[in-house]
């Protein structure tokens, strides 16, 4: 029972989702959207499980006397944001009201942290290019050449080197790049169909044996 019912639920859900795609008539029409709403509600509530996992993990660490300082920072960060969020909802009716203390945390902690982590990519893209782009094989050389041409095509120096550079870079993006992307995407589409069919037919049950 513990295994049959979940499989039944998943097969039926998949079947209804597919039927709803083809049948506009009640009760199928709009069912896909409804199920997606259900899904977002369930994952939304499941966030509590995630939070429990996170806090519990760090609470245990503090009790085991490892990582006391940093785990306390994590729990502190969580609590202050959560409390201010709830406070803002009660006081302003909406945590996202521009003057709310919750938005202070968003503006001066969440946003700078997020964009600085994002900015690390500028460094990593340089180190990855330096390390990986070597003319070891024909294929690797093609990757290197395409990258260098496109980079040159996007800065004034490239056009100074050869006036056709920006156009050439654009052409690489629009023709060979597009062709390969399309081929990969067609493969991905088939792979998705394959994965879906394996789940619907019960050959693959990722969530249970």
């Amino acid at each position: 029972m513990r295994k049959e019912i979940p499989f039944l639920i998943s097969a039926l859900t998949a079947m209804f989702a597919v039927l709803a795609f083809f049948i506009p008539h009640k009760p199928f029409g709009g069912l896909q959207q409804k199920m997606l709403v259900w899904y977002s509600v369930v994952t939304g509530v499941a966030m509590l499980i995630g939070v429990e996992s996170l806090l519990n993990n760090h609470y245990k660490r503090i009790r085991r006397r490892e990582n006391i300082l940093y785990s306390s920072f994590l729990i502190f960060g969580f609590l202050i944001t959560f409390v201010l969020g709830v406070y803002s909802i009660r006081k302003y009716g909406d945590a996202f009201a521009p003057n709310s203390p919750f938005m202070f945390i968003f503006n001066y902690a969440e946003v700078p942290l997020q964009s600085t982590m994002f900015a690390l990519l500028a460094f990593f893209i340089a180190s990855a290019a330096y390390r990986a782009m070597k003319i070891r094989t024909v294929e690797a050389s093609l990757l290197l050449a395409a990258a260098v041409i496109v980079m040159l095509g996007r800065v004034p120096a490239g056009a100074q080197l050869w006036s056709g550079m920006p156009k050439f870079a654009e052409w690489i993006m629009e023709i060979p790049n597009l062709a390969a992307q399309r081929g990969i995407l067609i493969g991905v589409a088939l792979g998705s169909v394959g994965m879906s069919l394996r789940i619907i037919l019960g050959i693959e049950k990722p969530y249970l044996r």
Partner: protein, 211 residues
């Protein structure tokens, strides 16, 4: 005043994250742990404000459990079952909502992959082999068609990449590699823009070195 404190706080976070590039250090650790904690709470509030409250709680409070709203019982029950995860020995109950989610993914994946990817990509590949007075356009069309088909060849699993088949697949790999290189190069500019933004914040908003 609050904005001055805020700016210093933001500057601390910015520098602490950048310090990770040199090596792991206490400043990064503080910023990292605070970030994980703050953002976990942020998304909890976000999900409540934009998903759980408006999609489940609000309609139930507003119209009660009747008519269309009866359907809301499904996500409500699934949500409760999910929370059984937190009770030892009853964790298996959460397999039901998980099964629902996986099933939904499979159902949507099946039709979505064909409608959203396969058909549009195939349609766009049916191109003219001959464009009047446009040799470059004609060449481009040929290249696109050859590129798409040879790339698909690369993904054949039941054929060893040998002989004529291997040669075609190798052309596909060439297209893939050019594409990866081009995308890599194309992305540099957007990433550097983000870094310029952060450095600009430090030099401008924080240190007032540039106006």
């Amino acid at each position: 005043m609050t904005s001055v404190i805020g700016t210093w706080l933001a500057a601390f976070f910015t520098l602490a994250i950048f310090s990770f590039l040199y090596k792991d250090n206490p400043f990064y650790k503080v910023a990292e742990h605070l970030y994980v904690g703050i953002s976990a709470a942020f998304w909890l509030i976000y999900v409540w404000s934009f998903t759980v409250y408006p999609l489940l709680v609000k309609p139930m409070i507003k119209n009660g459990l009747q008519g269309e709203n009866l359907l809301l019982l499904i996500p409500f029950i699934f949500s409760i079952m999910m929370l059984f995860r937190l009770i030892p020995n009853y964790g298996w109950i959460s397999r039901w909502p998980m099964a629902f989610t996986v099933g939904l993914g499979a159902g949507l994946g099946l039709t979505g992959a064909i409608q959203g990817i396969l058909f549009p990509q195939m349609r766009a590949t049916v191109l003219d082999l001959w464009l009047k007075n446009n040799p470059l356009g004609t060449l481009n069309n040929w290249l696109l068609i050859v590129g798409v088909i040879t790339t698909i060849f690369y993904f054949f699993f039941s054929q060893e990449h040998k002989g004529a088949f291997g040669k075609i697949a190798r052309v596909g790999i060439a297209f893939i590699m050019i594409s990866f290189g081009a995308s890599f190069g194309f992305t540099v500019m957007a990433r550097v823009s983000i870094l310029i933004g952060r450095v600009g914040f430090l030099l401008g908003d924080w240190l007032h070195l540039i106006k």
